[in-house]
């Protein structure tokens, strides 16, 4: 409501000046119009007065002139009184003024002469009863007076008013002024009269009236009795006939007033020519003026009017001009006001815009700064400005400056800030500080009201104005919350500290590593040196020698392991390690790993279980060496960190991926000491080892897992670890490998006459897996999950005449174990079939029993076709060939040969012949390769080298020499036999000279080879 009122007021305030201006202008204009009117009327009055005077004067002079003229006529005319009739003299006079001149004889007979017709008429003017019977002019004329009178014309044609001038004529004899003979009357025609009074103003005819006054009283005191209209310019004919009283339309008072006014003028008519101004209505003015005339008995009065229409027109014109002027003025004023308003608007808009900008700036600033406080140092006051209020609601918005300082220092959390600000904000101090600079900044920590966290604030003091001496007079305090910035700053400091700590940690880790390394390296080194010293002293005690040298060897091996790790790590760190891809058999990988892990497991009396699932292939393309390294590392750790009697599960599972890639998962799970979550974070970092009581006793470089992780990365695989302290650890490694497809042509089975197989295992998965592999290898395969059903199946097959050729039996089965099952099956199958035990466990302890039960061979799980074939060829050649079994008859049984032979057919033949005799071989395709293979093999790997002599790159003799020159113990002792087609003596001699032990003639036959080996062995023993 109030706002509505306000609005109304506002509108009123806005328009009031305009209304006032318009009212003033209107009033002025009205006054102007009235004045105009008055002025025009006045001017016109003056004008009409003057004109009336002139008209009166003209009438007067005309009359005077007429009178003079008639008097001249009178002088010329000497009527003969004796003779009646129109005087002759008069007939001769031709007056231009008068229409005609009548003669009235003294007797009162008026004569009239018509010049054109020359007729004389006469009539008596004397009537009884009227003014003594005589007309006034006759009476006056007889008295010698000259005058004027009006009369009604007695023309026959029309009755009209005529103006007559009369003057006496005198008798001839008596001369001048002598005796009146009669009166002559000069008659003006009406037209002449009208001429007198016709007047026009600005083209508009003006009404002019000629009045004659009837006077009473004597000459000295004559009173106007009546005013009679003689002639009016606008009179109609009828009106002319009557005397028209001027006062007829007036009230009595008006008439009396007019009469008295006219009387006044009349009385002064000889002293002044003043007339009487007379108004009719608003616009019409009229003027009375006496006609100056001495000859007139009745004084004449001329009334002339100014035309109202002209006055109105003039007034209108002037008013129009005034209006135009006024409008022009208003327009000019309006324009002026408009421009004023426009400029005012623009000015205001500019100010408003600026204000908006300023408001924005202020708003923005208030967002940045919480508080603005204006301080006048001279007056020692403060005031919160820019719509900011004190944080403390009780604190006054303005007051004494000292109070403000106190409020600031009170808000400080730290005493240091309190003291500092208390000092710095003092007026004298501020003045001094602000002398050099425009602003000051203070950072401090304020305790937040109600909040638990203090906030950082920055107080900026800006100098607003200075006095004449340059001392700060007015200042602005702007307070800003800089907690975020400060926190960021503190955070950054923290990050830097953290980074520094990390760098120090890394450095320390390296230092620790170095010191550990020094310790780890020094320990076996000390052992080597210590035992070699002991060895030296105990050279004569063979058992001691054996013991010490074994210890030296073991320490050396350990040292070598450490150094290999360090070298591997440095290779990995410098990115120099590469994968060496080749086809490898999974069975070999597992064999190798098992051969390394099993002794460790045994030593710690742990359980080691190997599980395989869904293995479809046994040969893959990959880096077997590195894969072995990875799995060995993980398994060794599992063994190391699992207490005695613990269990380690090693699971291999394969999953087909897109294309012909398989994902091989290797899972190593133990129930050992486990690892803490903290250690899991750094498990793959180099030089990190879990450190506690238990691990302190475990040797290691701390590089194993780092190497493992890097190798897995290199292979594009993943490693995942789950562990809990005290519960155990589970490592899962995923590696994607491409299987190598070997199409089994079935030749092997044909060679050994094998067609039908049976698998007996209580685990159905194993049965399925093995039969699948067998079928894939073109064999027929069935399976049973227990001994009894196996027996049934075998019986059935024998009955059908298609007995199984080989039966694979799991060692550990419920109800009936593998050995018992084998015994029963052997009874049914007879000697023809082969019975294999398939087991994941050590079989040494039951070997004898198994042999008695008729078991031909043991195979370790997991089942692989390659291992299966190997086993078959081993037992079958043993069976089929005389003396192929080990012992005196077959000295090469179980031997591993290194065969250097460049021709493929020859090398294939020799390797197969060796296999037939239970020996195996590696093939080198030239001498150089043979040297390389030997030098990189572990000590004692090869039992003998068969060296072709004629070979490209490096021949057999050179190769033998090179091998003998190798800096290793067995280089001197390894048996080397030359193979040559020429049994020439110098060939043999050259071979022996090259360091070879024997010479075998080509083509190599098993008999010769066996004989040679036997003799060489004999020589060696001797």
């Amino acid at each position: 409501m109030e706002t509505k009122e306000n609005q109304k007021l506002k509108i009123l305030r806005k328009y009031l000046p305009l209304v006032v201006v318009i009212a003033v202008v209107a009033i002025f204009f009205a006054v102007f119009m009235i004045n105009n009117n008055k002025r025009v009327v006045r001017q016109n009055s003056e004008f009409v007065a003057e004109t009336t005077k002139q008209t009166a004067s003209r009438i007067g002079s005309e009359l005077t002139s007429a009178a003079t003229s008639l008097m001249n006529v009178s002088r010329l005319c000497k009527p003969d009184v004796d003779n009646d009739g129109y005087p002759e003299d008069l007939k001769l006079i031709n007056s231009v003024i008068f229409e005609n001149i009548d003669y009235v004889s003294i007797e009162g007979v008026q004569y009239r002469y018509n010049k054109e017709t020359k007729e004389e008429t006469s009539f008596s003017i004397l009537t009884a009863g009227e003014n003594g019977g005589e007309p006034t002019y006759f009476t006056e004329g007889k008295l010698g007076k000259t005058g004027v009178y009006t009369a009604i014309s007695d023309d026959v044609i029309r009755t009209s008013r005529v103006l007559n001038v009369y003057t006496p004529v005198y008798k001839k004899e008596t001369g001048l002024q002598d005796e009146v003979a009669g009166v002559i009357i000069g008659r003006f025609p009406e037209s002449k009269l009208l001429e007198f009074i016709t007047q026009s103003f600005f083209g508009q005819p003006s009404a002019v009236y000629l009045y004659s006054l009837n006077l009473t009283g004597d000459n000295d005191n004559r009173q106007i009795d009546d005013i009679m209209l003689l002639l009016g310019s606008d009179e109609n004919d009828e009106a002319q006939t009557e005397k028209v009283s001027l006062f007829e339309n007036f009230t009595e008072e008006q008439a009396a007033q007019l009469k008295s006014d006219l009387q006044g003028i009349f009385d002064r008519r000889n002293e002044s020519r003043d007339g009487l101004m007379y108004s009719f209505g608003a616009n019409s003015t009229a003027y009375f003026s006496f006609v100056p005339n001495d000859h007139n008995e009745h004084p004449w009065l001329v009334l002339q009017t100014f035309p109202a229409s002209v006055t109105a027109e003039m007034t209108k014109e002037v008013n129009m001009e005034g209006l135009q002027l006024g409008l022009g003025l208003i327009l000019a004023l309006a324009l002026y006001i408009f421009f004023l308003l426009a400029f005012g608007y623009l000015e205001r808009k500019k100010i408003v815009d600026e204000n908006i900008d300023k408001t924005h700036v202020v708003n923005a600033l208030t967002r940045l700064y919480d508080r603005f406080v204006y301080v006048n140092l001279d007056r020692n006051v403060y005031r919160y400005v820019a719509e900011t209020v004190p944080e403390d609601a009780d604190f006054a918005v303005e007051g004494e400056y000292g109070q403000f300082i106190k409020s600031v220092t009170d808000s400080c959390k730290d005493d240091y800030d309190k003291d500092l600000l208390g000092e710095k904000l003092k007026p004298e101090q501020l003045r001094g500080d602000l002398k050099q600079t425009e602003d000051l900044r203070y950072k401090y920590r304020s305790s937040q009201r109600g909040g638990d966290k203090p906030k950082w604030e920055e107080m900026t003091v800006i100098c607003l104005s200075r006095d004449g001496d340059g001392n700060a007079e007015e200042v602005l305090f702007a307070r800003q919350n800089i907690s975020d910035i400060k926190e960021q700053e503190l955070h950054n400091q923290g990050v830097l500290k953290e980074a520094l700590r990390a760098a120090e940690d890394a450095n320390r880790a390296k230092s620790d590593f170095l010191s550990n390394m020094s310790h780890d390296i020094r320990t076996p080194m000390n052992a080597v040196i210590g035992f070699s010293t002991l060895l030296e002293k105990s050279y004569d005690k063979p058992e001691k020698v054996l013991e010490y040298s074994r210890k030296i060897n073991s320490s050396g091996q350990h040292l070598l392991g450490i150094i290999n790790d360090i070298l591997d790590m440095s290779k990995i760190e410098s990115g120099k390690i590469t994968l060496n891809l080749s086809d490898f058999k999974l069975s070999e990988l597992i064999d190798e790993i098992s051969s390394i892990v099993l002794p460790q497991v045994k030593a710690k009396k742990q359980q080691f279980r190997l599980h395989t699932y869904d293995l479809h292939h046994e040969e893959y393309l990959g880096d077997k060496l590195r894969l072995t390294q990875i799995l060995n590392n993980i398994l060794s750790n599992a063994v190391k960190y699992t207490p005695e009697g613990g269990a380690i599960d090693f699971t291999i599972r394969s999953e087909k991926k897109s294309g012909n890639i398989e994902d091989l998962a290797f899972v190593v799970k133990d129930n050992g000491i486990g690892m803490s979550a903290d250690f899991l974070k750094v498990i793959y970092e180099p030089f990190e080892r879990a450190s506690d009581k238990y691990t302190a006793s475990v040797q290691g470089t701390g590089l194993g897992m780092a190497i493992t992780k890097n190798l897995i990365d290199l292979m594009g695989g993943t490693i995942d670890v789950k562990s809990k302290p005290g519960e155990g650890t589970c490592f899962t490694v995923h590696i994607q490998l491409r299987p190598v497809e070997h199409v089994d042509d079935g030749q092997f089975w044909k060679d050994y006459n094998i067609k039908r197989t049976l698998v007996v295992d209580d685990e159905k998965d194993v049965c399925k897996n093995v039969t699948e592999l067998l079928k894939y290898a073109t064999l027929e395969a069935d399976y049973c999950t227990d001994g009894k059903s196996a027996l049934e199946a075998v019986k059935k097959s024998v009955k059908a005449g298609t007995p199984y050729d080989i039966v694979l039996i799991d060692l550990k089965m419920p109800d009936m174990d593998g050995v018992e099952t084998a015994r029963l099956l052997r009874g049914v199958l007879g000697e023809k079939a082969s019975l294999f035990i398939l087991t994941a466990y050590d079989w040494e302890y039951i070997e004898e029993e198994a042999e008695r039960a008729g078991i031909d061979a043991f195979m370790s799980k997991p089942f692989f076709i390659s291992a299966f074939k190997q086993t078959i060829s081993r037992i079958r050649s043993r069976v089929s060939e005389d003396g192929a079994k080990g012992g005196a008859g077959n000295p090469i049984y179980g031997m591993l040969f290194l065969v250097a032979e460049d021709n493929e057919i020859n090398s294939e033949i020799i390797s197969e012949l060796l296999a037939v005799s239970g020996a195996t071989c590696d093939i080198a395709s030239d001498g150089e390769q043979a040297v390389e293979m030997f030098s990189s093999s572990p000590a004692g790997k090869y039992d003998m080298i068969l060296m072709d002599v004629q070979m490209p790159v490096m021949d057999g003799n050179a190769a033998a020499k090179a091998i003998r020159a190798l800096p290793r113990e067995d280089a001197k002792t390894i048996l080397i036999a030359a193979m040559t087609a020429n049994a020439f003596a110098d060939d043999k001699k050259r071979a022996i000279e090259a360091g070879m032990n024997a010479h075998i003639a080509k083509p190599v036959s098993l008999d010769v080879l066996k004989a040679t080996v036997a003799s060489l062995k004999e020589n060696k023993e001797n």
Binding site: Q747, I909, Q950
Partner: protein, 118 residues
Amino acid sequence: MTVRQLYDKVGGDYENTLARFLTEERMVRFALKFPADQSYALLKNSLESGDMKEAFRGAHTLKGVCQNLGFTALYEPAHRVTEDLRAGNQVKEEDLRELEERYKELLDALRAFGESNA
């Protein structure tokens, strides 16, 4: 065709070869690998290009393989050529011709045997 018939046909040493190889199957398996052996080609090409060292190696290997497989008929000229080359002598034309003839005979026989036993 039996293995013995094959060996008789190409002038091979059936008895001794079987003694070393133990089974006929093995004999045949290796015999059938002979056509793929590149020794003869090495000899021929090296002789043509005049590389006597490589020609010797080719001849020597050919001789060795023939000996190993018991192909005596081919072994003989191969042996003579090898010895000539080892001694740095000019290889005899008739030896080369014989070598070539026997080599072709052997290959034909092996092919025929392979086809008949396929």
